[in-house]
């Protein structure tokens, strides 16, 4: 594991060809991404952008048409390259004949964990995800959120150094989500690389330090979260001003929103917001709040995919 990157793809391309019509679909198109060891990386994109195909090429479930995918410097197609990976798939279908403990035992064995160590790790992992009481229950009885937590325990049981999570909080209640975030936070402290594929932008914004946005199979935007969401602006909140002044301010602002008798004006520069303050004070209007704002990840995402 002496590679500079935990995950590195170069010009990764996957073209699906329909067997009968010979139609070609370019699911991912020349994707080059680098994820440093220890990073929490979010992969975003609208439906059909190629996120799942990208993740599957990292796991060698999909063979790339062109380009390369490396895990700690080893080709993803090499089974040994997958040894440090813990993976939680989206829409997982765990065999219902397993008990919670039985499922962890099976997948840990496939990951190369010795039997004696499995006996120690299984109760620990079940406790970590809050399923200790359910260890001997068949997973057919588990709720969706419980299955998701069990899936996370499965991904963690062999102490992976890369965790690939596809919609990790899907179907999990708010308490469970917080629990998962705490677990992932603990893993970040231990230097585990976490790669999250999710459409829940708020979740990714809270969790990830770096993101890439895929659109139509290509990387449309990538970078550090703080850089991408550092869109400058100011929000001025005032009690409902007179109508004429409201219209004047609306004309200068980039957006206006009314809530609970207050009006939020969003201005794109310091000069504009100062001008608005001068106008309000001239009319003896009160100011509720004035704060600098950054772009939300959602705004960045929408701007990127709508270009």
């Amino acid at each position: 594991m002496d590679s500079e990157y935990a995950i590195e793809t170069q010009d990764l391309t996957k073209v699906y060809v329909s067997q009968w019509k010979r139609r070609q679909v370019r699911a991912i198109d020349g994707v080059s991404l680098r994820v440093r060891p220890g990073a929490i990386f979010g992969l975003l994109g609208p439906n059909g952008a190629g996120k799942t195909t990208f993740v599957k090429t990292l796991l060698s479930a999909v063979r790339p048409t062109k380009g390369s995918a490396l895990i700690f410097g080893k080709a993803a197609s090499d089974p040994q390259a997958r040894r440090p990976i813990g993976y939680l798939p989206e829409n997982h279908r765990f065999p219902t004949y397993f008990t919670g403990a039985g499922m962890l035992d099976f997948y840990a064995a496939l990951s190369g964990v010795e039997a004696s160590r499995r006996r120690k790790l299984i109760p620990e992992q079940l406790e970590l995800v809050g399923l200790k009481e359910w260890a001997t229950m068949r997973i057919g009885k588990y709720s969706k959120g419980m299955l998701q937590r069990l899936g996370l325990a499965q991904a963690l049981i062999h102490s992976p150094t890369i965790l690939i999570l596809d919609e990790p909080t899907d179907g999990v209640d708010p308490v469970g989500r917080r629990q998962i975030r705490e677990i992932l936070g603990g893993l970040e402290e231990r230097g585990v690389t976490i790669f999250v594929n999710s459409h829940l932008l708020a979740e990714v914004e809270t969790l990830c330090r770096e993101v890439a946005i895929l659109d139509k199979g290509k990387v449309a935007l990538s970078g550090k979260m703080q850089d991408l969401t550092a869109g400058k602006g100011y929000r001025l909140t005032v009690p409902q001003p007179p109508e004429a002044l409201t219209e004047e301010l609306r004309g200068r602002a980039t957006s206006m929103a009314v809530r609970d008798g207050l009006v939020d004006f969003q201005f794109s520069s310091r000069e504009l917001v100062n001008g608005a303050v001068d106008l309000l004070r001239a009319e003896h209007c009160e100011i509720e709040a004035l704060a600098p704002t950054t772009s939300t990840l959602e705004e960045v995402f929408v701007r990127t995919v709508q270009k």
């Binding site: 599957k56 479930a61 063979r63 089974p79 397993f98 039985g102 997948y107 064995a109 496939l110 990951s111």
Partner: protein
């Protein structure tokens, strides 16, 4: 460790399917039948009476050895027809189930080759049928041995031949499973191979009946290419009856067929996107 885990998983999934319990149940019923309901009284090496459900009969042919071999033959035939059909039917779903989206990606994310995954499933499935066959054959063999004092080892060959034929047919199930992901298609095609086998075995008769050379050649190609389920069954019966059999061609040609099917299944599975 990994191979064992894959085999155990197949075993667990097989046992979760009720049809495998039906197979074991039928075997257990047969064993119970021979254990409790069939009584054979022997006087000076010949059957004096045979008691079934408490009713005594005196067989016309009082040779114990022939009676025991007849029972063995019946069991072997049962294994070859209903046993094999049920085993194929029960196994046909075990490949598509592992290829289900959400399950296969997780398996492929583990540090093991695709060949390993598929062979693990194959071995687990063969092991289930081997254990069931062994349970039935050894059980009946031991009971009849104790009751009659005849320990004919020929019957034990049925364990090997039944498991072997099942493994050959399972290779077909695997190939269809990874190609079409359909348990129904896998069952239909495999059962068709079982049904066509006794028909194709009539080669010498058909060579006389078929008028054109190309149809005779087609028949020969089909006969030599496809697994010889019928002949292998016949060889088992010959072994039970201590008769000599023509040769080992049905074994190696069926093994070759199975190896090609298994190789094709592994090659397709290795190349597929999931």
């Amino acid at each position: 460790m990994v191979t064992l885990a894959l085999i155990r998983d197949t075993f667990r999934e097989a046992l979760a399917r009720k049809i495998f319990w039906v197979l074991f149940g039928l075997s257990a019923l047969l064993i119970i039948f021979f254990l409790f309901l069939l009584r054979i009284d022997i006087v000076a090496g010949a059957t004096a009476t045979v008691s079934l459900f408490g009713r005594e009969t005196r067989p016309a042919d009082a040779n114990v050895d022939r009676l025991v071999r007849g029972v063995y033959g019946g069991i072997a035939t049962f294994l070859y027809t209903w046993g094999m059909f049920l085993a194929v039917f029960a196994s046909a779903g075990l490949v598509p189930s592992v290829l289900e989206p959400g399950r296969i990606e997780l398996l492929l994310s583990k540090p093991l080759s695709r060949t390993h995954i598929l062979l693990g499933r194959f071995a687990g499935n063969v092991l289930v049928v081997f254990l069931n066959t062994t349970f039935l054959v050894l059980g009946v063999w031991a009971i009849l041995g104790v009751k009659t004092g005849i320990w004919s080892p020929g019957f034990l060959i049925a364990i090997a031949t039944t498991t072997f034929v099942f493994a050959v047919l399972l290779a077909v199930v695997l190939l269809i499973g990874v190609t079409l992901e359909s348990a129904a298609a896998a069952t239909m095609i495999t059962v068709a191979l079982m049904i066509i086998s006794p028909i194709l075995a009539q080669t010498s008769l058909m060579m006389r009946l078929l008028s054109s050379e190309w149809s005779r050649n087609l028949w020969r190609v089909l006969y030599y290419a496809l697994p010889k389920v019928y002949e292998l069954g016949k060889m088992t019966l010959d072994a039970i009856q201590s008769r000599t059999f023509a040769g080992f061609a049905p074994i190696w040609s069926s093994a070759l067929f199975g190896a090609i099917m298994l190789g094709a299944a592994l090659a397709i599975f290795a190349r597929r996107d999931f």
